[in-house]
Symmetry: C2
Subunit: 201 residues, 2 copies
DNA sequence: CCGGCCATGTAACAGGTTACATGATTGT
DNA sequence: ACAATCATGTAACCTGTTACATGGCCGG
């Protein structure tokens, strides 16, 4: 359960409300761990019950009262352990790979269409990530979040480089399909123009 | 919802029972779309209700009866559309990146420890994937699944190459941290030996 | 006047995980 | 004797998504 630890991680930099946390999430880890405010609020409640954080109400006039959460020593301990612990390598579900897997019953032209569309998406993603670098490299408004800047940059860099890798891999695959040469062991998967029900069943 | 389409995709190669499907999943897409048998059975029931598949009971003696599911024309249509459609680029949640993000409050040595552990995991993953290539390249037992071999290989190749990319990226990061030179914009995140609560709050 | 910001939640739902449950046959 | 294979499911649970709900203040 990573949401719990992400929240604890942010609270290590200073007390925050659920609302603050939502903004912090959106500014930093949303790319690989998005969180709805509804989920943040309910997780905070559970963290308080479990003694990882404490809450104090700060009354306001005109606006709803703020519920400010502060991480406890127990919370810091939990977070420290989690940080050091090796995380079981879980392979995230990938719709892209499922689509790739079932591309076989398409004609060569159809398959190329899908792959090229995908390539454009990856391209756009790279551009979007790169556009976020300047903003990420500089300190954000709340001064207590400033140490986050480097890590936002770090994960952004990872995302960009990985997307670039995906791009070359896709370009490579497209070239192979275009040549009608899907490398080793291919049972002529991209050969036939259209599936013939009588042969596949 | 990709499970639905993965099931339809497999049924395009021929009628199958839920049990067969579970095995097919484990042999092919489990790396990026695992499925429990409980989930497969309930999804099949819904697919039948929606008219994407039909079911007929094949009685057996000594064993439980088989419920054999066959894809309908409607099901093929749905699958064909899904295959052609561009899938919204969803960034899967990544615990690894969350851990990376919150590495900052560790000492340099601790951080290096975590990164090196991670590197070993990636290393092992590569070895495991590569070990699966020969098995994937050859036809599987059920003859109607033979066309799956190439696509199993394709997605396996993607997984391997991506893991190799991750390996290089990690090695690079480790080197940077060792040099104490975390590149551009780093606010000395790996500098301090241990967090000092009074300075972070 | 309207939309957005502040700030909190609740509730229904969808998807996925884990455990429980049955029971004969076949192989070691 | 014991475990695995065949073959089906149910039920509780956890995580995450979407929509509903409130209400004052501020800027254009």
């Amino acid at each position: 359960m990573s949401l719990k630890h992400a929240i604890l991680g942010f609270l290590e930099f200073g007390p925050k409300t659920g609302y603050d946390l939502k903004k912090t999430f959106d500014r930093s880890v949303a790319g690989f761990w998005p969180a709805q405010h509804s989920q943040i609020y309910s997780t905070l409640a559970r963290l308080e019950q479990d003694g990882f954080v404490t809450m104090r109400v700060v009354p306001q006039t005109g606006k709803p009262d703020r519920k400010v959460y502060t991480i406890t020593e127990k919370g810091r301990g939990e977070m420290h352990e989690w940080r050091l612990g090796s995380i079981p390598t879980v392979y995230p579900r990938s719709t892209f790979q499922v689509q790739l897997f079932f591309l076989g019953l398409l004609s060569k032209e159809e398959a190329l269409g899908v792959l090229r569309t995908r390539l454009r998406c990856v391209h756009e993603a790279i551009a979007e990530f790169e556009g976020r670098i300047p903003e990420a490299a500089h300190a954000d408004d709340p001064p207590e979040d400033r140490p986050l800047a480097f890590h936002t940059y770090l994960t952004l860099d990872f995302a960009i480089e990985r997307a670039k890798f995906t791009r070359v891999w896709l370009i490579d695959l497209i070239a192979k399909v275009e040549r009608g040469d899907p490398a080793r062991g291919a049972p002529a998967a991209f050969e036939h123009e259209h599936r013939d029900p009588s042969t596949t069943e």
